[in-house]
């Protein structure tokens, strides 16, 4: 899960490792305060997303580099079918063009989190999340079309 967050919020391998390390440090520091009031996975996502979203430097790097060759390198290594690989690469490219918060929402949606758990992680109420999610789906449809046709 941490790798996915890093892939979503960073473009270069260096930034990804940096963010991974930062999340690990934050998890380590926060663990003594974990009282089990929420699910462990909710707590984990909160820390990972909070750490990724509030790091301005990585966001800047991402804006500069949404080139296809800078997409997550793991994708190229995994033995997917070519079609799957292409779809995932298109998805990443499209997601990278979304604002930070929407990227987090998409990730939780793709991870099959319920709207209730998404609310617990993000602090946005479920109704707003549903409306946002519909808009994001529409946005991604357009973005992936643009990516397929080599625009954007």
């Amino acid at each position: 899960m941490l790798h996915k967050v890093c892939n979503l919020y960073c473009a270069t391998e260096y930034d990804k490792q940096d963010l991974f390390q930062e999340i690990v440090i934050q998890l380590w520091r926060a663990y003594p305060r974990f009282r089990g009031d929420s699910k462990f996975s909710t707590w984990l996502y909160r820390i990972a997303l909070n750490t990724a979203i509030s790091d301005l430097r990585k966001q800047k790097n991402l804006i500069k580099s949404v080139e296809p060759d800078l997409l997550p390198t793991e994708i190229q290594d995994i033995q997917y079918s070519k079609e799957k690989e292409e779809k995932l690469a298109q998805l990443y490219k499209a997601i990278h063009q979304l604002p930070e918060i929407e990227r987090g929402i998409v990730m939780l949606y793709l991870e099959d989190k319920s709207y209730e758990e998404m609310e617990d992680i993000l602090g946005i109420n479920q109704n707003n999340l549903r409306v946002k999610m519909n808009r994001i789906k529409e946005k991604l449809r357009k973005l992936t079309k643009a990516v397929e046709h080599g625009v954007g």
Partner: protein, 218 residues
Amino acid sequence: MELDSLKDIWKDQDKGMDRYPESNNEILSMLGKKSKSPVAKIRRNLLWELISIVVVYAVFVAYYAFNKNGQFWEIAVLLGLVGVGFVFYYYHKDKLLKSMQRVDAEVKSNLQTQLHTLEKYVRFYFLAGTLLTPILYYITGLVTLYKKTPHSYSNDALGTRVQPVLNAVQDHQYFTEFMVGGAVVTVLIYFANKWYIKKLYGQHISHLKDLLKQMDEI
């Protein structure tokens, strides 16, 4: 491309991703490294600022305490007091920053807390920075002008014990320059501080505001 149809492909990534870090030792070495989060960096800068201030103040306190047989010992005491004040000021700033390092709350409330605390921190930084320098300038100047009263000045002219400093300073040959200098310092410090704080924290504050705007947009 439909997002729902990509959920399986998305989850399949897990199979090939867990190669980094390869061992527990790598995780342990990560934990031994310094945090690179914006707040951690601000805290480290703050520590360096504190060390520089303590060194500079210590040099000046020693200079005024021992130079010219301690003629300006009052300034040394004043600087010492301001230096101690600075230590408390940095402690307060560090406490505010420390409270920003908690990241286990919901994303929205975490961003709200960060923004609120950072704005409070910046207000405190600006106010203290803008007021301290002119105050220090005027008090140090008053003591210096009083002590450097021209020899021709008779003791009678200094008046009673109630107002000797003001009487001596008001009639001092450099009084006008001293007052104008203070005004210039105050104006310069105001703008320099405003620019410096915006440069240091402005981008991070706008980023946090933008993130909260994204969260509230429906």
